[in-house]
């Protein structure tokens, strides 16, 4: 798979840099300006989640292309304490940090595919957004 970038997340500057990288990759993949912003917003929330709960981690960004569709895949990994109850964390309004509780469910609404795997040794969030390609 080509075009993969790995962005370390350990400070608030990384949140901005990573979402801008993501916007760039989304633009190259042919997403509209509106979709680029949506993707950047989702990356921002996920990166923020890493900082808040795990302190550090990384986000992998890659563009993928099939004959009928193109897309962006965002994989956020950390070795933090993990999410105790993933189902609950995906509910609107649920937050353990006193934040707005929009992180995961908000990002999920912005993307087409969203998957969370979490255990005591870390969390991986994989999210994808697609667009149709007409040949």
């Amino acid at each position: 798979m080509p075009d993969a970038v790995i962005c370390p997340i350990q400070a608030d500057v990384d949140v901005v840099q990573t979402r801008q990288q993501g916007r760039g990759i989304a633009a190259e993949a042919g997403f509209s300006a509106g979709d680029q912003t949506v993707i950047a917003a989702a990356i921002s929330e996920i990166a923020r989640n890493i900082l808040m709960y795990a302190k550090r981690g990384e986000i992998e960004l890659r563009s993928v292309r099939f004959p009928d569709r193109a897309g962006i895949v965002v994989i956020a990994r950390d070795n933090g304490p993990g999410i105790k109850d993933v189902q609950r964390a995906m509910q609107d309004g649920y937050s353990t940090s006193g934040g707005l509780g929009l992180g995961l469910p908000g990002a999920k609404r912005l993307m087409d595919e969203f998957d969370v795997v979490s255990n005591g040794s870390g969390t991986t969030v994989t999210m994808k957004k697609w667009r149709e390609v007409r040949s």
Binding site: V16, R19, T37, V38, A41, G106
Partner: protein
């Protein structure tokens, strides 16, 4: 990156020039709340036209600025939210409840003028 804050009459205008980190946003909040007192400002405009993304932290900070400035006697209006940023905000479930918004700087100034007249401020 520090956000420049201009003083125009009894208004403060903070015009965001680029994407901001959380630290930059917090710094903007502190600076605005302090300057409302220093310049005896009655109105604050935050121009977010150049902001790439409005995520939960940005929204919370803008809300804090509005409420803190109001406690200090100044009305705040957020201007320049771009259409795609508005779309992403709605999808994320982010609202700016209790926060005034206007299309652009011109509308924002008109809004503050109207608020001032309502309050009986001298021009």
């Amino acid at each position: 990156m520090e956000v420049p804050i201009l003083k125009q009459g009894t208004y403060l205008i903070a015009s965001i020039q680029s994407a901001l980190t959380d630290a930059d946003l917090s710094q903007l909040r502190e600076a605005l709340v302090a300057r409302v007192g220093k310049f005896r400002a009655r109105g604050v405009i935050v121009d977010v036209t150049a902001l790439d993304v409005m995520d939960s932290f940005a929204v919370r900070t803008l809300r804090d600025i509005t409420h803190m400035a109001r406690l200090r006697g100044a009305e705040t209006v957020i201007v320049g939210i771009q259409p795609e940023v508005a779309f992403a905000m709605v999808q994320l479930g982010l609202t700016l409840k209790g926060v005034s918004t206007a299309l652009d700087l011109e509308e924002g100034l008109a809004f503050l003028d109207a608020k001032g007249r309502e309050r009986g401020d001298r021009a």
